[in-house]
Symmetry: D3
């Protein structure tokens, strides 16, 4: 059976930190679906469709990576793409605790397994919200993006 | 290239919690080496050779799992068995922080990638040291062992 | 003097996790008041009055349990019902730290003592916000509710 | 049924922090057993018997408090004194995580319930090991002891 | 070169905890700028100008302390006042982790060094949000303010 | 009054991480005393005198830095060198919690103020014990040392 992982997130924007996780995890799976959760209540920097284009362009040469937008529960989306795994990057304890709770629920409700990689030390402080804030103040953020 | 993971530990004894991590991680890899670190300064419940036999017997029907004893640095042992990955189970924050530091060093010194799985909620409190302590007081510990 | 504990929360909805804390704590007290904090700024799944009915029905056979709605400070509500104790369930570190700060303030301002129980491992991942989210996506949540 | 709590520890020595937990917890129980675990491998400041005398003298006027020495498993000692509860004071996250694991095991193996109180802010940094270290260097430690 | 520190925050209101950090840190620096971040989206208890007056009055006799309002990025404001240091008080782990991420970014983007002091145990539970909440319910909060 | 800081530790050996903390903290103080605690019960890689020589050689051109060996309580040694500050580098939560307790005690017993700097991300995983372990297995550790 093909090993399929879902890497879910908002990715607004997709940072070097996200890229790093995807590239390190890819060898473990046959297919990796990057799932952009659509959140209609939050103001965003890029529309989901823009994010999808940006990420797809980044991995254009990697046929095992696919980028999709979803607006259902993550466990239902995982099922719809055939994923048995959820991929997550963690660096802080707050991340860790949050992921542990989500992972327990994903396993209990849908039998989904969560695979964690540590964010690399040099990308660990890069978050999408930081990038958005810097951009809002007119800063150059290209260093943080792929 | 074959994907090989090293699952290093003392495993004195190998608990249901360890078994759970091995079984959940196995599908991700082509080969999984359970590495028993020999520690000559600690008093142990079982000798490394006894532990090797117990674990090997447990996975006798799984040709992709191998059990070895080592007394060198974990990164050197990983290299010697061709492992690109280190597998670890985590449940507590203390685990998490400890693993993060080790993972950083393993990556920097040897390019080893660490893959984390959350210990399942119902095996999370089972540790080898707990089993040793209970056994020392004459308790039945079969519930905690494979 | 009767030992009276306040178990304060939003309880939107009251989960199996909450039920578990109440049932385990009840033997310690003469009376246990479940206090539903009214929050007029948040959108809720159930009105406070609906939650009161649901919880009261659940404990209909337990005369020592009382369910009330309040919209004043928790310390003032505790005083108004004669509670010397605040009861809280904790599982994560984030919970723990949050409760420690609140407990310090409750003690300093009102002499209230906080009694903590660990959430049971199998209900630890159940939160009201999780249940609300699952319900919003049409999932069956009866497993998480009393 | 009488509510009996066990407050287990080394208490080498019994500090103001321990005293504070005992006094705050006492109203919750009918009987509180302070259990001094005998550890034959550690060097101690006071013998278990000396500690027993010191603690017993401190609570001489409180008939509901009893001080005993034990050298069996804590869960077995709890059973032998009829305790349904284990009492613990926590302040740090490390404490919290340690207690959570022990509490899970105590519940699973013996049905024991753990009740946690937060250490008061002004006694939170006082530990027996700190007192022992200061004493070893000839410091006056009376401020930290009852 | 004069050593200049920026102590940034909302300070709505400036509490005894903030005062404590400022007074303890002052000897380390030649000049300490208390920077009030203007946040136009949050409802506030006091306007930034009111906060500026209150804090300036408190330190009227300390010529090395200056109070300013800013509405740019903290790193840009630090640069504009010539600060090489950011001063922060921490007590909880959540604080610590949050500050670590911000400090990494401040250093990477602007070469700013972060200096941490532990909040004193007796002011550690005092936060501006707590004071605002108590005040909203008509409580006397003078104990928490300078 | 001269601002004097004590940077206490075992420094067996003194790593790049230690060097980084010293260099970043030096501008804050008039004098910085690196205090090597003598521990007669632990096996060490270098004698305290060797460590003193190594560290002194490293900072030979910095007259404000002094390296001393001590075998008394840290608070007493701080007093003997006139230090009003203790300097510490932190990266992990476990560090943070440990330092918080020590800092509370140092302040209460001796009025010592603790100043924390975050360990830089790229030296955060380097510890003396790691270096000792690698060296014991014949690894080249020059990358981790000044």
């Amino acid at each position: 059976m093909a090993k399929i992982a879902l890497f879910p997130g908002s990715f607004d924007p997709f940072t070097k930190g996200h890229q790093n996780i995807v590239e390190r995890a890819l060898p473990l799976f046959d297919r990796l679906v990057i799932g952009i959760g659509r959140n209609t209540t939050k103001q965003t920097l890029y529309t989901p469709e823009e994010r999808q284009q940006q990420i797809a362009a980044l991995f254009a040469n990697e046929p095992r990576i696919e980028v999709q937008i979803y607006d259902i529960l993550t466990i239902d989306f995982a099922k719809s793409v055939g994923a048995q795994y959820v991929l997550r990057g963690v660096r802080t304890m707050a991340d860790f605790e949050y992921e542990r709770t989500i992972a327990d629920v994903n396993k209990r409700l849908a039998g989904l397994e969560t695979v964690l990689l540590f964010a690399d030390a040099d990308t660990a402080s890069i978050s999408s919200s930081l990038v958005r804030e810097l951009k809002a103040f007119g800063k150059d953020v290209t260093d943080f993006l792929p």
